[in-house]
Amino acid sequence: MASGISYAVEARGITKSFGRNEVLHGVDFSIPAGDSRALVGRNGAGKSTLVGIITGLYPQSAGQVFLGGKPAPSTNDRRAWRERVACVYQRWMVIPQLTVGENLFLNNQPLNRSGLVDWRTLRQQAADVLKDWDLDVSPDLEAWRLTVEQRQIVEIARALLQGSRFIILDEPTAELERREVTRLFDRIRALQQSGVTFLYISHHLEEIYEICKSVTVMRDGRIVADAPLSELPKSKLVAAMVGEQVAALEPKATAPARADVLPAGLTIRGLRLKGVVDGIDLDVRSGECVGLAGLAGSGKDDVAEAVAGLVQPLTGTIEICGKAAATGNVAAMREMGVGFVARDRHVRGLFPVMAVADNLTITVLDRLGSLGLVSPSAQARMVDRQISDIGIVTSSPAQAIGELSGGNQQKTMVGRALASDPKVLVVCAPTQGVDIASKQALYKIIDDARADGMAVLVVSDDLDELTICDRVEVVFRGKITKSFKRGWGEHEVVAAIEGLY
C-alpha cells in the first residue's frame, strides 16, 4: 500500500481474542511481494493464530488484513482466499482417496461445454504439472500413496494452480529426510526467483538462514523483531524469541540433597525406539526431579511412553529402583512402580462422561476389593482422600469429569498416576491448558511427590514447567544433547531445544 512497494500481505493492528483470552495484541505485519519471510517464536507466541487470520481460517477481533493490496475477502469465501494465499500445513490437506490429478484441481476442475468435469483435460493438465515439478507419479495415483515429500509438492503445486502467488509453509521439513529437504529448498528457491512470496514457519532455526531473507519474531502475542536475517545473528534471534534475560529463574521448588547420594529411581540405558529415539541414557534418582525438554518430534515424548510401557523399545533397558522392568506393558510397568500422566488429557487421559471417582481409580480397581469386584466403600475412601490431598474442586465424586475445569481435570490425571503409589512419576506437559492458580497447585503436587521420595520426570517444552526441575536434559533429534543444572538461563535452554549451540 505504501508508495512504490506492493505487499503480498499487510495486516494492521490485528487483535484476536478467544473468549476472554486475548492472544494477539495489535499486531502489524507485512511482507513485501517476492520476499521470503521466516516467522519464529516459542510455542504459544501467537504464530498459528496470526497465520490463521491471514489465511482466513478465522476472523480477527480488530484490525485489517490486505492481500496483494486489496482488503481480504470475508472468511466465508474460501475460494477467494485460496486464490490469494495458500498454506501447506504439517497435517495432510490432500484428500487421500482422490487421485493426484483430482487433488491438483480440487474444486477447480476443468469443465467441458455442458458444465461437467472434463476428465481427459484434467488428466492431461495434471500430467503436465507433475512433469514441470519433476514428480514421477501418475495423475491417477491415489493421493494416500504419496510420500510426505510428494504430498507437499502436490499441495504447493495446487496452490499455484489456484492462482496464489503467496505461499505459507508450516514446518514443512518436520518429516523429511535431509536429501528431501535439500530438494524442497531447491524448489522453493526456484519459485522465489519467479517472484512467489513465502512465509516460512519453522522451529529449526538453522533452516531459515538457509532459505529466508527476512524474519519476524513473535513473543506473547506481539511482534518483537522484524528484520533482514543478515542483521539478526542467531544469538540475537534467540534473545528476541525468549525476551529479557531472566538470568537464573527463581527456583520454584526446594533444592534436594545432592543427587549422587540419592538412591536410584529411574535408570534408562541405551534406549532406542521405533522412530527418532536413538540411544538415550538417563538417570532420575529417587527424590530428584528431572526435566526432559525438546521440540515436538524430538523424541522426548517417546521416551516417556517407553517408561510408561506403551511402546516396546528396540534395544536398551529401563530400571525402576535398580530392578529391570518388563517393558512394553502398561500394567506391568505400573506394578513395578511407574505412574504416568500422558500429554493431552482430552485425547489420552480423560473418560469424559465418567465420574471423577472412576477417573481417579480406573487403574487401581484391583486394589479396591477381591475377585475383581470394586468395593464402593473402599473406592469412596480412596477417592475422598485423593480429592482432599490433591485439592480437586468438584461438586461430588460422582460428577462427570468432563464438567470440571481444565485445572481440576489435570489434577485428577495426576491423582490417577499417584493412586498406585508409584516410585517413578512421569508427567508430560502437566500444566498444559490450565489456569495460573492450578498451575501453581500442580507444581506443588509434583514437588510433594518428589519430596516423598519419588523419582519425577517432567517431559515438557514449556520453560516454566521446567523450572521446578533440579536438572533439565535436552533432547534434540532423538539424542540427549545438553544438560542444565538448576539456575539455567532461558536463552541457553531455548538454543539447545532449537538445536543451536
Partner: protein, 316 residues
C-alpha cells in the same frame, strides 16, 4: 436420573392400559408380557454391553435363529422331517446352541478387533450370512417335535414363574452389578468413553472388546434356546427383525450409541416399556397392520420424553 427417565412413561402406559382392558393389570397378563419379553431382554443386555464398549453388533438376531436351527437339525433323526439323521440328545443340543453362539461371537470379535474391520458392516455381513444359513440348513422348513429337554428353558416354571423370566431377571441383576461393581465392567465403560485413554491407562482394550463380543454371541444363543422352547419349534425366520427392537429398547433406555454411557437398569426399563406397549396395543385391538407404525411413533415420543426429562444433550 437419566437412567430411570422411562419410569414415568411406563406408569402412563400402565394407567392407559388399565383403562383399555380390565385384564391388563392381571398377574397372568403381566407375567405373559414378561415372558414374551425375556428373549428380547437378553439380547438387549448383550447389545448394551457392546454399545457401552463403543461397538455395535447387528448379527445378534441371526444367532437367535441359526444356532437353535443347527442344533435342532442335529437333534432330529428323521430326515423326512428336515433333520440331519444324526440324532443328538436335547441336552447336547443346548450345548451345541451355546457353543455356536460363542463361536460366532469369537469370529465377530476376531474380525472387528484383530483385523480392525468396521464393526457395522462386518456384523451386517454376518447377519446376512447367518440368516441365509438358517434358511439353507432345512431349505426353509420349520423344525418341530423337539425333545422336552431341549425346550425346557422356554417351557418350565419355577415357583410358578416361567424359567425364562428367572433367567432374564438373573442376567439383568448380574450384568447390572457386574458393570457397576466389577473392574472389567468399569473398564468397558472406559473403553467406550475414550479407547485411547484406556490404552494409556493400561486397560487391555483388545482383549476386553473381544470378550464383550463373545459374551454377546453367547447371550444371543441363550435367547435362541429360550425362544425355541417357548414356541416349541424352530422357524426359519426365528429372530428376524428383533435387532430393531433391541436397539429401540437399549437407546430409549439410555444406552448411548456413542459408547461409554448408559446403565443396564435403564436398558431394563426400555425392554419393559416396549413389552407393555405391545401388549396395550394388542389389547386395544389396534389392527395388526398398524401396530408397528404405532410402535415406531411411540418410540419416537419416548425418545423425546427421555431427552426432556433426562440430562441436556452433550454439546461441544
Amino acid at each position: 436420573m437419566r437412567d430411570l427417565a422411562l419410569v414415568p412413561v411406563i406408569i402412563v402406559v400402565l394407567i392407559v392400559g388399565s383403562f383399555v382392558s380390565p385384564g391388563f393389570l392381571m398377574a397372568d397378563n403381566l407375567m405373559n408380557v414378561m415372558q414374551q419379553s425375556s428373549e428380547l431382554s437378553i439380547l438387549v443386555i448383550a447389545q448394551s454391553l457392546i454399545l457401552i464398549c463403543g461397538k455395535i453388533d447387528l448379527s445378534l438376531e441371526s444367532i437367535v435363529g441359526v444356532a437353535p436351527m443347527f442344533a435342532a437339525w442335529l437333534i432330529i433323526s428323521d430326515t423326512m422331517m428336515g433333520g440331519s439323521g444324526v440324532g443328538i440328545s436335547g441336552i447336547a443340543g443346548i450345548a451345541v446352541v451355546l457353543g455356536l453362539g460363542i463361536l460366532i461371537g469369537t469370529v465377530n470379535a476376531l474380525l472387528v478387533v484383530k483385523l480392525r474391520l468396521n464393526e457395522f458392516i462386518t456384523t451386517l455381513a454376518m447377519l446376512i450370512l447367518l440368516r441365509g444359513t438358517t434358511l439353507g440348513i432345512t431349505n426353509g422348513q420349520t423344525l418341530f417335535d423337539l425333545p422336552d429337554s431341549f425346550l425346557y428353558l422356554g417351557t418350565a416354571k419355577w415357583l410358578g414363574v416361567p424359567v425364562s423370566i428367572w433367567i432374564a431377571g438373573f442376567l439383568f441383576l448380574f450384568a447390572g452389578l457386574f458393570m457397576r461393581y466389577h473392574r472389567i465392567g468399569r473398564a468397558i465403560y472406559a473403553i467406550g468413553g475414550n479407547a485411547e485413554a484406556a490404552r494409556v491407562a493400561g486397560i487391555p482394550v483388545d482383549r476386553i472388546t473381544m470378550g464383550v463380543y463373545i459374551a454377546g454371541g453367547f447371550l444371543a444363543s441363550l435367547a435362541g434356546v429360550m425362544l425355541t422352547g417357548r414356541i416349541a419349534s424352530v422357524v426359519s425366520s426365528q429372530g428376524q427383525n428383533m435387532i430393531f427392537y433391541v436397539f429401540a429398547a437399549s437407546v430409549i433406555g439410555g444406552i448411548s450409541l456413542n459408547g461409554g454411557q448408559g446403565r443396564i437398569v435403564g436398558a431394563l426399563t426400555g425392554v419393559i416399556l416396549l413389552g407393555l406397549l405391545q401388549n396395550v396395543l394388542t389389547l386395544s385391538q389396534v389392527a395388526a397392520f398398524w401396530i408397528d407404525a404405532a410402535y415406531g411413533a411411540i418410540i419416537l415420543i419416548a425418545l423425546v420424553i427421555t431427552r426432556l426429562t433426562g440430562e441436556a444433550p452433550r454439546s461441544k
